[in-house]
């Protein structure tokens, strides 16, 4: 494009390369390449290529790599963008809270992390009613604990403080 200044062209190129779609698809490609490379690092008992445990995964990983390259090129060429995030704070809080929550259930039991998660999640979604939020946060996990631990006899993980929940 002869009429466009070099700075604009550079910005345009950077936008195409550094957008979320390209970054995620580049990540997929790197993961596939790393996994493919790892198939050569292990040794197995079978010397027959077709009966090697890595025979099938290598075919699949090769196809994954090929498709990831095509998809990456398509995304970079089309300059398509992912849907904009309405609130980075909200999605960040919900993502982190969920990951911490599922991680804590094993060690801290089901009830307490669930109550804290519900409080954080509802607040992140913009629900701050002083009555509804705590009632919901206690009632939903509490009902599940009563149902599974005490009615059905299928105990959920309990906390380190009491065997009741």
């Amino acid at each position: 494009m002869p009429g466009r200044p070099a700075a604009n062209l550079k910005d345009d190129l950077m936008t195409r390369i550094a957008n979320e779609r390209v970054v995620v698809q580049l990540g997929l490609l790197i993961v596939a390449l790393a996994l493919y490379a790892s198939t050569f690092a292990q040794s197995f008992s079978s010397s027959d290529l077709a009966q090697s445990p890595m025979f099938f995964p290598r075919i699949i990983l090769a196809l994954w790599i090929g498709l990831a390259v095509i998809s990456l090129v398509q995304s970079a060429r089309a300059d398509d963008q992912a849907q904009p995030i309405a609130s980075w704070l909200r999605i960040g809080v919900v993502l982190v809270a969920t990951l911490v929550y599922v991680n804590l259930i094993g060690s801290e039991g089901f009830f307490l992390p669930s109550v804290v998660f519900a409080l954080i999640c509802l607040s992140a979604f913009g629900i701050r009613h002083p009555l509804f939020v705590p009632v919901f946060a206690i009632a939903v996990p509490g009902t599940l604990v009563l149902l599974f631990n005490h009615a059905l006899g299928m105990p959920l993980p309990t906390s380190r403080f009491t065997y009741l929940f």
Binding site: L28, S46, D48, P53, F55, S71, V94, A118, M154
Partner: protein, 495 residues
């Protein structure tokens, strides 16, 4: 299968059987009515709870939730103009205008009757077509099964909304995930990187619930939260009288046939069936002038077709072990978790189970009428529940469900990780159904490929030269893969 009918009926009429049929349909209708949950998430939420059940009730619960949720989607479509499930989107076109005219009860009446008729006829199609198809497939050895699975994999192309390349990519990721853990022939460990928790591979349910239910919560958290919708006036369902059906039965029959035919085709789905049927109704109905303005034929076209898909979609799933979409893939996964191998021998090896599933599916569709009438009044106020409460409850329920699968906290981490990855991929337009289909079909694909290579002394070409059925299936797979590419090229050249 007929000889197993008395045993099957005994299962269905047992306390557990009856509870599962009624409770599953109730849950399905309520979850389907909630916008944003949809059939796949509804089935995913309920799925872990089936693990404590015996085989037949477990599958029946999922079927009841599936059929109930497809119907439940019409409640939100008609009352708040927001389809509870994608397959009810076409119902909005005439259902909501009718509700705005003050005929919400009658609109739901048309939807209920059309759904019940569509579902019942599809159950009959399932009962007769699946055993016939399965008897043909009984002759299949590993090579034919490999070609069949290959053909089944091509449905990834049709479920790939947006981009075929991204759909295939998701399919490959799914197949790869199925290879983690023990090798199916030699038992040696692959891709575990020293982590003993991965020796048994990734828990399929944790991945399914992560990529569908949890990623949906993250997707909702990333966009503007919708306000609570205004409900139109509604005082319960009003069933259309016999006189009102005059001149509409042809449209109903046509919609049921369309739904069944599209349902049998892998990967096409209920939403497509509903829109094709709606378009056909608009073209051929004597009342076509009223379409889009609250015409009952529009509701009948959409609802009869989308419910007819449910039985049709189960034909290849039960007869061949090939899932047509994410929901049927989840059902196949549930069969595996209950120690049943899906595939051509499923019908022959488990006649009582299959008879119970098919008969139960018929009963579920019968239950839609009374339960739909009863629950629409309950479901209507639920439509006003704030999305935030639903999303928070979904995460907590998913955690409970996944914990009960194996009682292993590691599965919760897998679910969380799958949720984050699913969210990131969905934001890039990568569909999740192919990933699940790949993960379900992957193990059989690998096993039959390697068994076939043993039989042919490592000669892959002999798969097709000495096995005509495998050749035909492989050619069909090539055509199914190439067809969208050819269509895209043709569209580009004409543009």
């Amino acid at each position: 299968m007929l000889s197993s009918l008395p045993d099957a009926i005994a299962i269905l009429l047992s306390f557990e059987g009856l509870v599962v049929l009624v409770l599953g349909t109730v849950l399905g209708i309520i979850l389907g009515a909630m916008p944003g949950i949809g059939s796949t998430v509804a089935v995913a939420i309920v799925l872990p709870f089936t693990l404590t059940m015996s085989q037949a009730p477990a599958i029946l619960l999922l079927l009841a939730v599936y059929a109930g949720s497809v119907y439940g989607g019409s409640i939100a479509a008609i009352l708040i103009n927001t389809p509870g499930t994608p397959q009810s989107a076409a119902t909005c076109l005439d259902g909501y205008p009718m509700a705005q005219r003050g005929e919400a009860g009658l609109a739901l009446g048309w939807a209920t009757v059309a759904s019940v008729v569509g579902g019942l006829i599809s159950a009959v199609v399932l009962i007769f077509a699946a055993p016939q198809l399965a008897s043909v497939a009984l002759e299949f050895g590993p090579i034919e099964t490999f070609a069949l699975i290959l053909l089944g994999m091509t449905c990834i192309v049709s479920v790939s909304t947006g981009s075929v390349v991204k759909g295939l990519l998701a399919g490959m990721i799914g197949i790869f995930l199925s290879t983690v853990g023990g090798d199916p022939i030699l038992g040696e460990m692959r891709f575990t990187f020293g982590n003993w928790q991965l020796f048994a591979g990734f828990n399929l349910l944790a991945v399914v619930i992560g990529v569908f239910a949890l990623s949906e919560v993250f997707m909702r958290a990333s966009v503007h939260i919708s306000k609570v919708s205004e409900l139109v006036a509604f005082n319960g369902i009003v069933l259309p009288s016999r006189a009102m059906w005059r001149g509409r039965l042809r449209n109903l029959s046509k919609s049921v046939v369309i739904g069944n035919l599209i349902g049998v085709l892998p990967g096409t789905g209920a939403a497509t069936a509903a829109f094709i049927s709606y378009a056909e109704g608009r073209r051929s109905s004597p009342n076509r002038a009223g379409f889009g303005k609250g015409e009952p034929d529009g509701i009948v076209s959409s609802e009869a077709a989308n419910n007819a898909v449910t039985g049709g979609a189960l034909v290849p799933t039960m007869a061949l072990g090939i899932p047509g979409d994410a929901i049927t893939a989840v059902m196949l996964a549930t069969l595996t978790l209950h120690g049943i191998t899906p595939g051509p021998k499923l019908v022959e090896d488990n006649p009582t189970l299959i008879a119970a599933i098919f008969t139960g599916f018929f009963i579920i569709n019968l239950l839609l009428l009374p339960l739909g009438m009863l629950l629409s009044r309950v479901a209507a106020p639920i439509l006003r529940v704030r999305e935030a409460f639903m999303m928070t409850a979904i995460v907590i329920l998913c955690a409970v469900g996944i914990y009960f699968v194996r009682g292993n906290p590691f599965d919760l981490l897998v679910m969380g990780g799958a949720g984050v990855v699913g969210f990131l991929l969905r934001r890039q337009g990568v569909p999740m159904a192919p990933l699940v289909i790949g993960m379900v079909l992957g193990p059989t694909l690998e096993l039959t490929l390697r068994q076939g290579l043993i039989l042919t002394d490592g000669n892959f070409l002999a798969f097709f030269t000495g096995h005509p059925i495998a050749l035909v299936l492989a050619l069909a797979a090539c055509v199914a893969l190439m067809l969208p590419v050819w269509r895209a090229l043709r569209a580009r050249s004409t543009a």
